[in-house]
């Protein structure tokens, strides 16, 4: 068993533990902090999968920007600690059951999937340079230029929308 696999296993367990803590924690602050931890462990998994640029983005945008926004909102609002409800209403029972169903379907589907391309992927030499920022930049600025520009427009609209919605008097 290589170091890669062991690290992947460790990061996976930590990610799942963090995600469970997000859902089952009493205080929203604990949830937010364990979500930050989950994002960091996911970034570690991305590095193991040769997605270095995406891992850096994940830490900067998710663990940095988005989670600071979350923490700011948690500080702004006087929140009470509330554990997940122990006595579930029928709607929540249906929710839990459907999520278990989706999990079993997804696990079945992933076990069924087998890669026909796995034998003829690019060699180790090409994989050394796979996933660096240069490749992603070339792809974004040539093939995906229009979606990229649309995305900048979306971000502008989101800035304006957030200001308008959160303002006291519109």
């Amino acid at each position: 068993m290589s170091v890669e696999i062991i690290l992947f296993f460790v990061f996976s367990v930590c990610t799942l533990a963090g995600a469970s803590l997000v859902i089952f924690a009493k205080s929203p602050l604990t949830s937010a902090m364990s979500l930050v931890a989950t994002f960091f462990f996911l970034a570690g998994i991305y590095v193991l999968l040769f997605a270095h640029a995406i891992a850096a983005l994940q830490i900067m945008v998710y663990a940095g920007a988005v989670m600071v926004l979350f923490l700011l909102v948690i500080m702004l609002l006087p929140l009470k600690d509330a554990p997940p409800p122990l006595r579930l209403s029928p709607a929540r029972w249906i929710g839990a059951l459907s999520s278990a169903t989706v999990l079993s379907i997804l696990i079945y589907a992933s076990l069924q999937w087998h890669n026909s391309l796995e034998t003829n992927t690019t060699g180790q030499n090409a994989l050394m340079y796979f996933g660096n920022l240069e490749d992603i930049g070339i792809s974004i600025y040539t093939q995906w230029l229009f979606p990229f520009e649309a995305l900048s427009l979306l971000l502008l609209a989101a800035i304006l929308g957030a200001v308008v919605i959160a303002k006291k008097r519109i």
């Binding site: 990610t15 799942l16 995600a19 989950t38 040769f50 998710y62 979350f70």
Partner: protein, 100 residues
């Protein structure tokens, strides 16, 4: 090399944990965090497939997903603040004034 099946299994579990939190919790903020978890599960699947196919397009998709998630977080948290200001609650069960 990490087997892509392991990636897919982890992604499936993460997605279903997010879905569980989305459906079970009452606090709107935690519901929102669960959505972020589900988005990250999708990202993980994208990156696993990008790795096994040696195709950079998966990474580009993840880039777009991260940007959309940032926009979504900004607007969603603004909505949560507006909700609290108007209704003094974050319980998603009590917010039903758009139902009728």
């Amino acid at each position: 090399m990490i087997p892509v099946t392991a990636c897919l299994l982890l992604s499936a579990m993460l997605f279903c944990l997010g879905m569980l939190g989305f459906l079970l919790r009452k606090n709107a903020l935690i519901v929102f965090m669960s959505v972020e978890l589900m988005l990250n599960a999708a990202n993980l699947a994208f990156i696993g497939f990008a790795r096994v196919h040696g195709d950079i397009t998966g990474h580009v998709s993840v880039f777009f997903v991260i940007a959309v998630a940032a926009a979504e977080a900004a607007v969603g948290l603004a909505i949560i603040i507006a909700l609290y200001r108007n209704r003094k609650t974050l319980d998603v069960d009590e917010v039903r004034f758009m139902k009728h």
